[in-house]
Each structure stands twice: as C-alpha cells, then as structure tokens.
C-alpha cells in the first residue's frame, strides 16, 4: 500500500508538471540526461512449453534511463527496467501466475545527417538483455522463462518542436540473439542444480538465433516537456513483441517520468 501511494504521488507529480508547468528559463544544451519513470504494463503471453492458453499480463513498471550525447552528436543510451504483476486467463481463476520482467539495454547510436535542423536521426546497435519469468502462483511446480541476449539494430528520431517541447520515436529489432528457454519437458536436473545460480541460468543452455527462429521488436514513442533548464518530464509508450516457436509475448507499456540534465 505504501509503495502504491509513493508511485501514485510520483505519477501525479509528473503528470501535473507535464500539463501545467510554465517555465521561461532558456534551455541549456546539456550532454547527459538521467531519467526515472514509472508506469503500467499491459499485454499477453503464450508459451506452449508452459500452457496452451493465452494469459493477460498486468503489472507495474519502473525504468531508469541514461543518455549521453558525444562530441559528434552520437548517443550512448542505457536503460534498466523492471515490471512485475500477474498473469490471468479467463479459463480459470486458479490458473493465475506471477510474472517478472527485466530489461537491460545499452545502445550506441550514430547521428545521421538530416536536412531539418529541428530533427535528429540516429542509427546504431544495441545490446538488450530481456528477462521473462512466469511462475504458477498456487505451486512453483509450473513455470517458464525466456532469457534473451539480443544484439539489435536500433534507430531513433528526435524532433524539437520548440525550446520546451520535443518528441522522439525509436525502434529496435534483434539481428542475432542468444535465447535461453526451459528444457523440452519444462524442467530437468540441470535446471534444478542451477536454480540459485542466476548468472549461469541466464547464460547457459541457450542457443543462437536470428530472425527465422526468434523475432522481436521494441517500438517507443515519447514526448518530453522541459520544465527548467535541467529538469523535464516525459510520457512514453513502448510496444514490445517477441516470438519464437513456443513463446509469444506482446506488451504495451505507458510510463511517466522525470528527467535530469547535467
């Protein structure tokens, strides 16, 4: 309850700032931005290794972002995000499961030449670790996971509407991915022996895949409003989709955030 109040207060603050703040201080060009955001994750997942049914996933979402602009205008981006909540299916209330999802993204994007001075276009690469865990609530004797180390092609567009307002769009798709999935029967002694060795668990017994065996896309659209020289607010929408032979997941994420430039 206490957490919910804190999150609600944070979101309300961001929202109010976005809608009503007026600031006339000239915007200073800064090289680094640190952002903190919270929001809601809504989507679906189906994993025939776990169940033949489609589950609806709903839960909270938190993200920490960092962006640095280099001397030539190129961008380094880092994002750490976590989402957790419940999987439900209309077929039975007793089939409810917990889900945990985490992402680590590290990107380097080269600035491309664009005629419009208000628009910046970037293209580059990104390492994206995507962690998905789903555990049947009534007993831990049913679970599934997908850990993907994705090497992605990423593009981003920034458009400065005026001094305070800007929006951005980005999209990333993996070219090659190391994907770790449960064994065919869902469980084996190797998994049992390594269940507490998280690093080993997420990085062994996987296989390298490209588009034909693992497809994913992450699309982001965001709007920023600069409150002061250093502080701004943002609203972001992310769409995540990933698919392999047994696992399919689609998620919509909306988050509100505060950014600090330095």
């Amino acid at each position: 309850m206490k957490n919910n109040i804190i999150i609600l207060a944070f979101l309300s603050f961001c929202f109010c700032c976005t809608l009503s703040a007026q600031q006339t201080t000239p915007i200073r060009t800064s090289k680094s931005t640190l952002g903190l955001s919270a929001g809601y994750n809504y989507g679906w997942f189906k994993d025939t290794n776990y169940s033949p049914l489609i589950y609806t996933s709903k839960g909270r979402l938190f993200a920490l972002t960092y962006e640095h602009e280099g001397k030539k205008g190129n961008l380094f981006q880092a994002q750490l995000s976590y989402s957790g909540g419940e999987d439900t299916t209309p077929f039975s209330d007793s089939f409810m499961a917990d889900f945990w999802q985490g992402d680590i993204e590290l990107a380097w994007l080269k600035k491309l030449n664009v005629a419009n001075p208000k628009t910046d276009l970037y293209l580059g690469g990104q390492y994206h670790f995507d962690l998905n865990m789903n555990i049947f609530i009534d007993t831990d004797y049913a679970f599934t996971f997908l850990f993907a180390h994705r090497f992605e092609l990423k593009t981003k567009l920034n458009h400065q509407i005026n001094q305070k307002n800007s929006f951005h769009l980005s999209a990333a798709i993996p070219v090659a991915s190391y994907v770790v999935r449960p064994p065919y029967t869902g469980y084996d002694d190797d998994l049992d022996a390594n269940q507490d060795k998280y690093l080993k668990l997420v990085s062994t017994n996987g296989d390298w895949r490209t588009f034909n065996k693992y497809f994913a896309i992450k699309f982001n659209a965001g709007y920023n409003y600069q409150l002061t020289e250093r502080i701004g607010t943002s609203i972001n929408y992310d769409f995540n989709f990933q698919k392999e032979s047994q696992f399919k997941q689609a998620q919509h994420q909306v988050k509100l955030g505060l950014n600090y430039k330095f």
């Binding site: 009534d138 307002n165 929408y237």
Partner: protein
Amino acid sequence: MKNLLIALLAFTLLISFSSCKETLMGPDELNDPENNFELLWNDLNNHYGLFQARGWDWDAVYDEFRPQVSANTTNEELWTIMTNMLETLDDSHTYIQDRRNGEANKRVFISGYELNYAAKALFDRPMIAETYLEDFEIHDENEFFATGKVQDKNIGYIHLKGFGDYPIDLIDEVMVDMQNHDAIIIDIRNNHGGSPAYAQRISGKFIDKTFTYATMKDKNGPGPNDFSAPQNLVSIPGENPFLKPVIVLTNRSTISAAEDFLLMMKPFDHVTQIGDTTAGDFSDTSMIRFLPNGWEFGYSTREYRTPAGDIIDGIGHIPDVLVMGSEGHLQNGIDLHMQTTIQYLKTRYGIE
C-alpha cells in the same frame, strides 16, 4: 501542435490496447470437450516418457477413447473418459485434477493408484508405535520423519513418509543415537517419494560403496525416440555408515524416490527388503499442465533403467521376504511387517 501530438499518442494507445490481441497472439484455445481431450492426448503423446518402456500403444488408446467424446459431452462424462484413458498408463506420476472450487474441494485422479490406496489403508503408524515401539518420536511438523526403538530390543526404527519437506540433517542427528543398535528397521511404507537427493543422503548412512544405482534420461522432443543421453545416477556413502543388519519395509504405496532409495540400498548384503512389491513408478512428474476447462494434469517425463539396462517402471521392487498385511491383521492390532521383521532378525541374525 502540442495538443495534436497528445491526441495522436492517445489515439495510438487506444487502438493498440483495444484491437491487437487477436492479431498479435492468434486465437485462444476453445473450451469444448473435443479440444480439451485433444490437448490432453497430444500433450502426453509429445511428452510422456514411458510409452516404450511400458509398452503402451498411445495411438490405440486414442482410437478407443476419442470416439467417446463429442461436442455434447458433459464435463462429468469427460472426466470419466479422461480418467479411464489415463488409467491405461498405470502410472502414479500421471494425474488429472480439478481445483476450480478451491484446494479443499479439489477432485484428483491418479493413474494406477487403486492398489496404492488399498495398501495405504493397511498401514497404521500410531498402532505400530503403541504395539511395537518405545521412545517413539515424530521429528517434523509434516510428520514425515519418525523414529523409535523396538520394545525390549536393541533394534532401531525409522519411518519415512516422504523424502523431503524436513531438514535433511535430521538423519545425522538420529543416526548418532542409533549407531549402537544391533539392527535398524527403515519403514518406507506409505512413502509417496519426493527428492532423490534426500534418498541419496539418507541411504548414504547405510552403505559403504559408491556405485551407479540407475540411469535416467529425459524426454527431449516429440518423437518416440527423442530422449536425452542417459545420465548415471550415483549413490554415495556418508561418514560412519551403519553396516549392521538393515530391514527396509515396503508396501504397494512405496513410490518414486522411495523406490530410488531401494535401488541405492538393495545391492548391499546387510540390507533386506520385507513387505510387498513397491509401486513401480520410478519416473518423475512433469510440470503442472493446464486445460481450457480449468483442469490440470501431469505425467511421467523420464525413463529410468537399472545399471544392467532393465526397465523396472511398472514392475517395482520385489521383496526378499514377501509380507502382505490384511484388514483382519489391522483390526486385531497386528502389523504383519513388524512381526515378520522381528522374527526375521532373530532367525537370520540372532538379534533378540
């Protein structure tokens, strides 16, 4: 411009939220009797690990039961058809359950369990404790681990109701006191199994040699021959093992890891199995599986063999001394296993 962007974003979100589930995820499973049956049959067809080992023809089972299901089959009828189908596997790691009305009102069917239920009913631990034992003590809250001493004799008694859900170190504490006994009875009647690691640790207190007690392979694909490479399962002795006479008591409800325990113990000359043949269910249960009608099920996914390559699933451990109690014995306060064991230790080893 700002308003336009917000409107555009809101519109995109609205469209995305409301309309793309079917497009992105495809249609969900149908909750009708025929699809539920197909899902159950196919899941076992692709994952069940004992068709070859047990010699079951799963296609023939389909031919027998599929025509019994139609779009008009009621849930009750479907339950009967499915449980009859699973019963053909005679495998207590295979089950189906309905927990939609809560854990307290759940309905469970376990394949091949009729004899196990009958055997279970003939075991009365409080009666054994009162009639045959002294210093009887239950060591854990689940009442899985109990010990005592045969009345007026220097014979220890350990009852293990399962292999798991109690501190494994209990066996170390108990064996400190039992080292001076002339013999130990390890009663694994009504032992539903659990963790082979527990069985390994406990058996280590009674053996003095490392050896491969079984090989195991996991189903790793849908084809009938899709199995992982065989993995050796090794039994390892612990410190100061008890090598005086050990009697292991069994019944038809000695299952799974309890049968692994016997694989680890029986090769040793000082160990004797007294009782009934065990369940013959060496494999392991799958993850819980789900059906659109809200039922859950599970099944065996592994194939065990003896080091000689023999399949013992469906056969079980045949005792060295066959003893089968009856309701009559129970009603008269007699546990035939205990009586036979006490007599056996006297005649075979001179322990009185």
